[in-house]
């Protein structure tokens, strides 16, 4: 017994280090193996507060660019409105309309924190539970997809960016509807990889890649990027490098998408 105590006393520095290190490493491994991004930590609120003050300041530097983007999108939407609703005023419908089966509802939000230089990048938005944001909603911007909401507090939400090695989304080629999985390899914030496209599918530089809509998170056909190069890796599948259309370094305003029919679809598919 005394020997044991003496041993413990002699090597306590190493033993304590070992215990603490095991705790830390197992936290890290758990996070890497299973997607544990659904934590909403206490710090979320604190850091969101700081980030909001920083971003309200830095927003001024992007005013010109933001205005240009907004006016572009306005024009685009006006055009769409003309095409769709011109025939009859009666066709204008709102969120709760059961006749027209509106499936997606968009909420505008401002990005108050964003990073592109980590392996697991996150964004923070200034909308939360009180504004109707829930976990696992898609986030898009006018140029393409951005990510999926993870943690939601009362007034803020954190978004797993597409630039997160844990992020996967089902994507397809716009021209022939063959689908695969899109993920990020952590190399370049402007490029992502599209896996699992069978090798017999004609895929060329310049093909458009859009979301497949299978996951019920993003509407079908939301823009992701353009094929930059495609090569057959490990056997029967293409791995294509996709040039992302979203510029993750210049995100200011984004839209959070709630799928009004998601519960129904998931119930049928037995996920929930």
């Amino acid at each position: 017994m005394r020997n044991l105590l003496r041993f413990l006393y002699k090597y306590y520095f190493f033993l304590l280090f070992l215990i603490l290190e095991v705790i830390a490493v197992s936290m890290g491994i758990q996070y890497n193996l299973y997607q544990r991004a659904r934590f909403v930590s206490v710090t979320e609120n604190i850091s969101a507060f700081f980030n909001e003050s920083i971003s309200s300041f830095s927003d001024y530097f992007h005013l010109v660019e933001t205005n240009r983007k907004l006016s572009l999108e306005n024009t685009h939407l006006k055009n769409q409105l003309q095409r769709v609703y011109r025939s009859d005023d009666l066709f204008f419908f709102g969120e709760k309309d059961t006749l027209h089966r509106q499936k997606y509802f968009f909420t505008s939000a401002r990005v108050i924190n964003n990073s592109v230089n980590r392996m697991h990048n996150y964004l923070t938005l200034d909308k939360g539970r009180a504004q109707g944001v829930r976990p696992e909603m898609g986030v898009v911007c006018p140029e393409g997809i951005v990510g999926i909401t993870a943690g939601v507090t009362k007034n803020f939400s954190s978004v797993i960016s597409l630039l997160n090695t844990n992020f996967h989304v089902s994507a397809k080629l716009k021209k022939n509807d063959y689908f695969g999985t899109l993920s990020w390899d952590g190399q370049d914030y402007r490029r992502a990889l599209l896996h699992d496209i069978p090798y017999h599918v004609p895929i060329e530089e310049g093909d458009t890649v859009v979301t497949s809509g299978f996951s019920a998170v993003f509407p079908e056909g939301t823009l992701i990027g353009i094929v930059e190069k495609a090569e057959v890796k490990n056997g029967n599948f293409y791995t294509a490098t996709i040039k992302l259309t979203t510029d993750f370094k210049h995100l200011v305003y984004v839209d959070v998408i709630s799928n009004l029919k998601k519960k129904e679809q998931k119930k049928l598919e037995n996920y929930d």
Binding site: Y12, F13, F14, L16, F17, L20, E21, I23, A24, V25, S26, M27, G28, I29, Q30, Y31, N32, R36, A37, F39, S41, V42, T43, S47, F50, I54, S115, V116, N117, R118, M119, H120, Y122, S158, T165, G186, Q187, Y189, K249
Partner: protein
Amino acid sequence: MINHLFRYTLLFIILVLVQILILDNLQISSFVVPFLYVLFILMLPFEIPGWLLLLMAFFTGFVMDLFEHTYGIHTSATLLMAWFRPGVLKLIAPQDGYVPNSEPMIRDYGFSWFMKYSVILVFLHHAILFYFEVFTFHHFFTTLFRVFISSFFTIFLIVLSQFSVYKPKGLGRG
């Protein structure tokens, strides 16, 4: 003692705030990610007992993990760095040992001693951090390059802080 507690608490808060409010928002490139908060472990006094050193490292890393959503990555890297600290200090000790009441700073032990001390520990910390973050040896040399460049910037900031925050003799000397 109380004075010590106050000083190191203040240093800890300042470093964490600088890290999350300024450095994390810099985003120069994915190769340049300085982690100045390790300065806290470097600055702890020579006489600090081992268990306290390790607990401090665990706490520091854990706080950074919470703010950066990384869960365990900063904690394990900072712990390893703290564990190596006594060994490194012994390895590079000056001939007549460390003087009581002195601190591990350029002011007390000179530039070349301080460089050896910080380069070894910061590089170790960043290496563990980046490889654990990537979680693969797939792009071994890309990651190694990130480790080098980021360590360089961290060390640059650490040396800078030695000259700016700690005025030679006097100010804040507990």
